[in-house]
Amino acid sequence: MAVELPKPIVTARYGLQESWKLQTYLNNGGYEGLRKALGTPREELVENVTAATLLGRGGAGFPAGQKWSMLRKAEPVYLVVNGDESEPATFKDHQLMVTDPHQIVEGALICAYAVGAAQAFIFVRGEFALGLERMTQAVNEAYEHGAIGRNIFGSGWSIDLVIHPGAGAYICGEETALLESLEGKRGFPRIKPPYFPAAIGLYGAPTVVNNVETVSNLPWITLNGGSAFAAMGAGRSTGTRIFSLSGRVNRPGNYEVEMAKTTFHDLFYDPRLGNGIIDDKALKAFIPGGASAPWFGPDKVDMPLDQDEVGKAGSMLGSGSVIAMDETTCMVRAAWRITRFFHNESCGQCTPCREGSGWVDKIMYRIEQGAGREDDLDLLLDVCDNIAPGLSWPPRQTTICVLGPSIPSSIVSAIRMFRDEFLVHIKDGQCPFPP
């Protein structure tokens, strides 16, 4: 029985001609949410989002309403929208920026109004040339339209919104590194405590940092109510969510599906979604939530896309990136590619991540190249254990940010699930898969 696809919330305008233009946006209900919000008491807006249980779509899945309510009572308050989407196989935010930038602007403004922000920033990954162009154009149009700037829509409320291009570092997607970068400093994550930018954020001020997709939900939630959002999905996994599906599927892409009601199986095999594994091969494993997430075997394929269920099973929905691997995929190489990514992107602050990422990268590469030794596997596990002690899930963090504990996920998953494949590499002195 095919899963029911919801009426889209954040991808509603996908497919419209020139969907990124203000006129298209206005013709399709654009800025109505903001107009409504400006006539609504701020507390009500926050309550509405809290009622929606809108979980953050950036990776950590922290409820947005709760985040807003944690703001330290101080002036000024800043809003930063995180559009530094950089994890391999995560590509939903860029498409939102390219396709419906006004929705992000409107969502950002609703959030800014709700939390009483004095200034809003949208931090866009520097490599997103088209995304930056569309976002900048949208902001300019919105200024002209009177949606940003002085006395917005005659409400008396004023705010400026700035697009800030990133300088090319994955780590700046980590919210405190992003704030450092926004302040003009090197993108080093800040040491915790303070744990949340809501207490000490941009320039030391209380700051809300929300993901692009998270704020994109706000116009809809404002117009339709938090409870309508919460009516979709189940448990804490409410509403819809975009999943970036990639890997060995016939139809990779971004799909907005109802949370908790859709399963990984639906995602992979539904003809309107992944439409099955390439060449009808067998699914060998999949990554349920981006490069940092521990892998699942085919036994978990019927699990619903529910944040808490996936968490309980030992992984996460993370950034909403789902990667399918089939029997043609070399698990050593797959794990090594992810490891190399973290090696390249470690900021270099904490010793275990800085040195450990390079070390495991070198070992993994050596094994993939056929120069591995059997005791390399135990060594890998122990080095990973030194990066994130216990190799448990959720990982025990001994580094400043979560990049460190993300490194072991793929290595440990690959070794635990596919030890034999490693041994073949080692015994044969070469990779058994085609290059």
Binding site: T351, R354, E355, W359, N386
Partner: protein
């Protein structure tokens, strides 16, 4: 946890449990610091007690009990909280430490045998103590070009770097020179300078000292020694008068290195590069190792015996006094000396020769009586006063570590800096307000600030003001700032921190090396009876200061000139006058380390021992007396200055009354009122490790002694040093050698043998210490010359001075002087930055390139003093004029 900490902020201490032991900690303190005070050492690389924690190296992970049980936390970043439970030795902690050390070593080159740090390396030490026995790393290590030069003094070996950010934090947080930073990321992270911008910081050497590996190397020290070959004593840096504590290290009787020691009230472990590398001058080949005498034959200076040199000097002095009176003799200089040297020379000049023409300053400071008479502040008091007034030189150039302290205080907001200056300084950007004045108008500006309705008046009258007082410019007479100081002295509760730069200028003033004063901060008049009793003779009348002495010498009224480490041709602001004075004086004797330009003109040159070559005490700007220790022997037969004074006295038929440094010290304690109670025994106590600020209450130190001895605070950074110093003697007691300061026993013995002491046991009451009355009668500021600019001239850290010029690593760092002017004045002349202009005072003219400096007020022009360049301000300045008017013309 944050809430908990907040609640406890009110309490004085919190109790935490570390490894099952309850320990007391200060609220807000980090676990690592609290544990260390309790004797539990948690290994670390990035944490440094004088900088903000960053939690990067992860070496200090310990288990802290939280709501979900024990979890590894960086002890450098977790503040203590009441009832906190910490474990530093559990299996998870050991595994984490093992892991971090293994990680740190995988890319470390392990070239310890050729590394300067080998033997005193925190990475080495902690690997032995906490690390795994061997590495499992078989891959290729990271490679970088070895080493690269990042400044004139510092080299960087990026392969050895463990990315702890100590150096980058120091440069940014402490020095305010953020010229080094991380580039790249991950395991390619490296410390680098910005393109074409070297790490040219006055404080760069500190990064070498705090580097936990051998990544940062000081070029003067590189490959010169192995740490285990070095011997050391604790001492005080004498490159300027801040009084930073140092470890003086030597090998084979040569000074090899100075390291900063963390003295809490003074230097916090930091040194400036001039101080750090100034040992190079002591070790220089140009040092005088024998006395020189101008022969009657060819008129050249040639080496002679000490007997000949001293006999000749004594004979000439005696003849001149007999013919022209005692006032025809003058002693110039003395700020280089120890307190004991200075006392001996003061006694020789005033008590034996009978002249008050004595000045340890060279017309570039402030009147001695004024400085001694003002109520004195400590550096800590300045750093916590609600307002600090800076009225003096650029302290970044002249008293660099004082600059570090005040900069930190200004940034942290513990004080507010109000600067009154003729030109922008290193402190200007940290000052809450910087008021510029035209030369000659300091007092007027101070008056209007106090009286004006500008808010400054209220701040100044708040009762919690410290004035950092010095000479803002050598091109204006000292009368203006002296007048301003006396106006400020009328503020309620005001205290002063003198910003006079020469190493022991404060000690020499204390010891009476200034006209009108006697040892112990008493005036010639008030101390008359007391010192007649002690010395039996005193000058008949008040003498001349340096300007007066040189003028009198130029006019032939002063016949004999003793240059006591003074080089007036280089240091006196008016070189023409200095030249005439040296030519006019019939007999010139120079006591110096080097054959300076002035010493070349002397008839006799007496070779003196320098820093590290003699023991004694020195006094810093606060009046803090600390011990300087001998580490090496002086070159040849060069002698400590006090011995030369004693020898001359004998040849003049008198006896100074002391034949050992101990006896000399005892006499100072007995005779000088400001030094009452200051015994070697007290200075040797653990509680006096940071020295004693005079005048002091001996009972307070005694009471404190027990407490301090119970918990000696060892600067973390000096752990290696402390270990070594156990052999060398951590302080004065165990130092042996002819010039060492003896412990108490010897002093008593000396006292019994002493001649003057026996005669009169103090009938007169001790004279009162000098004080200064506030001034109420304003003088008229000099009139404006509408056609001229007023010259401002100040010193740079690296200049043409004898110390810098004899340090091979520093000599070439002296910047070339260029004329600096406000852009409006340049526009008026139609001159662009970089053009050459002709400048003329009524003395002489020069042509020089001009730079824009809009920090200078219109109507002023600035040249640095005693630095290379096309114009020499000393040739332009006339010391008899209140200000130096400078005509600036186009050359076309």
């Amino acid at each position: 946890m944050t809430q908990q900490t907040d609640q406890q902020a009110a309490k004085d201490t919190v109790t935490i449990t570390v490894d099952g032991r309850a320990i007391e900690a200060k609220p807000g303190e980090m676990i690592i610091a609290a544990a260390e005070r309790a004797g539990i050492y948690i290994p670390r690389f990035c944490w440094h007690p004088r900088m903000k924690p960053v939690g990067m190296c992860r070496m200090c992970l310990v288990e802290v009990k939280g709501p979900r049980g024990f979890a590894l936390q960086p002890s450098c970043f977790v503040p203590v909280a009441e009832d906190m439970e910490v474990v530093t030795t559990s299996e998870p902690v050991k595994k984490a430490q093992d892991g971090v050390l293994e990680f740190l070593l995988i890319n470390h080159p392990l070239d310890c045998p050729v590394c300067d740090r080998g033997g005193e390396c925190p990475l080495q030490d902690q690997t032995f103590a906490f690390g795994p026995g061997e590495s499992r790393f078989v891959e290729e290590k990271r490679h970088f070009e070895k080493p690269i030069r990042i400044s004139d003094l510092v080299l960087l070996d990026r392969e050895r770097c463990i990315q702890c950010a100590r150096c980058t934090r120091f440069a940014d947080e402490v020095a305010g020179d953020p010229l080094i930073n991380f580039v790249e990321r991950g395991d390619q992270v490296q410390v680098l300078t910005f393109p074409d911008q070297p790490f040219s910081s006055y404080f760069s050497g500190n990064t070498v000292q705090i580097c936990p590996v051998g990544a940062l190397l000081a070029s003067p020290y590189r490959f010169r020694a192995r740490p285990w070959d070095l011997e050391q004593v604790e001492s005080t840096c004498t490159a300027c008068s801040v009084g930073c504590r140092i470890a003086t290290q030597s090998s084979s009787n040569r000074l090899i290195r100075y390291l900063g020691i963390d003295s809490d009230p003074v230097n916090h472990g930091w040194l400036c590069d001039k101080g750090r590398f100034s040992y190079e001058a002591v070790d220089h080949d140009d040092r005088l190792g024998a006395p020189l005498l101008r022969t009657s034959g060819d008129g050249q200076l040639g080496e002679c015996s000490w007997g000949e040199a001293l006999d000749r000097t004594a004979k000439e002095l005696r003849n001149i006094i007999d013919l022209h009176g005692a006032a025809s003799v003058a002693v110039l200089g003395g700020s280089r000396l120890t307190n004991e040297d200075a006392y001996a020379w003061a006694k020789l000049a005033k008590g034996v020769l009978g002249t008050d023409n004595v000045d340890c300053q060279l017309g570039d400071g402030l009147p001695g009586e004024l400085v001694l008479g003002l109520p004195r502040a400590t550096i800590d008091e300045a750093c916590t006063a609600s307002t600090v007034v800076l009225l003096g030189p650029d302290i970044k150039e002249e008293l660099p570590v004082l600059f570090l302290r005040l900069r930190e205080a200004a940034i942290e907001g513990t004080t507010r800096v109000l600067e009154i200056t003729p030109q922008p300084t290193g402190m200007t950007r940290y000052a809450a307000a910087s008021v510029s004045y035209a030369p000659g108008e300091a007092a007027e500006v101070v008056r209007s600030l106090i009286d004006g309705s500008n808010g400054a008046g209220e701040l100044l009258k708040s009762g919690d003001v410290v004035v950092v007082l010095g000479r803002p410019s050598l091109a204006e007479s000292d009368q203006w700032v002296a007048e301003a100081a006396r106006v400020l002295a009328g503020l309620p509760g005001v205290k002063f921190l003198p910003a006079l730069r020469r190493s022991n200028v404060m000690g020499s003033l204390d010891m009476g090396l200034a006209p009108g004063v006697l040892p112990g901060r008493v005036s010639l008049d008030a101390g008359h009876q007391w010192f007649i009793d002690a010395w039996s003779r005193l000058p008949e009348e008040r003498g001349l200061d340096a300007t007066g002495i040189l003028s009198a010498a130029a006019e032939g009224r002063i016949q004999a000139l003793v240059l006591l480490g003074a080089d007036p041709l280089a240091d006196f602001p008016d070189r023409a006058l200095a030249r005439r004075a040296l030519a006019g004086a019939g007999f010139v004797v120079a006591v110096d380390l080097f054959l300076t330009e002035s010493a070349r003109q002397a008839d006799v040159v007496l070779a003196a021992a320098g820093p590290g070559e003699k023991g004694g005490t020195t006094t810093n700007i606060e009046g803090r007396v600390t011990v300087v220790n001998q580490k090496v022997t002086a070159p040849g037969t060069a002698r400590p200055d006090w011995i030369l004074a004693a020898e001359l006295a004998v040849r003049l038929g008198e006896d100074l009354g002391f034949d050992s440094l101990g006896a000399l010290f005892e006499e100072i304690e007995r005779v000088a009122p400001s030094h009452a109670g200051l015994t070697m025994e007290i200075l040797g106590r653990p509680s006096a490790r940071d020295g004693i600020v005079l005048p002091f209450d001996p009972s307070a130190v005694a009471a404190e002694a027990e407490h301090a001895a119970a918990a000696p605070v060892e600067a973390v950074e000096m752990r290696a040093v402390a270990a070594q110093s156990q052999t060398a003697g951590s302080d004065i007691q165990s130092v042996t050698g002819p010039e060492a300061v003896p412990a108490t026993g010897e002093g008593e013995q000396a006292e019994q043998e002493e001649a003057p002491g026996e005669e009169t046991p103090t009938p007169a009451a001790k004279p009162p210490l000098l004080s200064v009355d506030a001034l109420d009668q304003p003088s008229q500021s000099p009139r404006r010359d509408a056609y001229a600019l007023r010259l401002v001239s100040t010193r740079k850290l690296y200049d043409g001075g004898a110390i810098v010029q004899h340090c091979a690593s520093l000599a070439h760092l002296a910047p070339r002087t260029r004329l600096r002017m406000n852009s409006h004045d340049l526009d008026r002349l139609g001159v662009n930055s970089g053009d050459r202009v002709k400048i003329s005072s009524h003395r002489t003219s020069a042509t020089i390139e001009v730079d824009i400096d809009d920090g200078l007020p219109r109507g002023s022009a600035s040249l640095t003093f005693n630095t290379p360049g096309d114009a020499d301000p000393a040739e332009l300045i006339d010391a008899s004029q209140p200000v130096t008017e400078l005509r600036v013309e186009t050359t076309a």
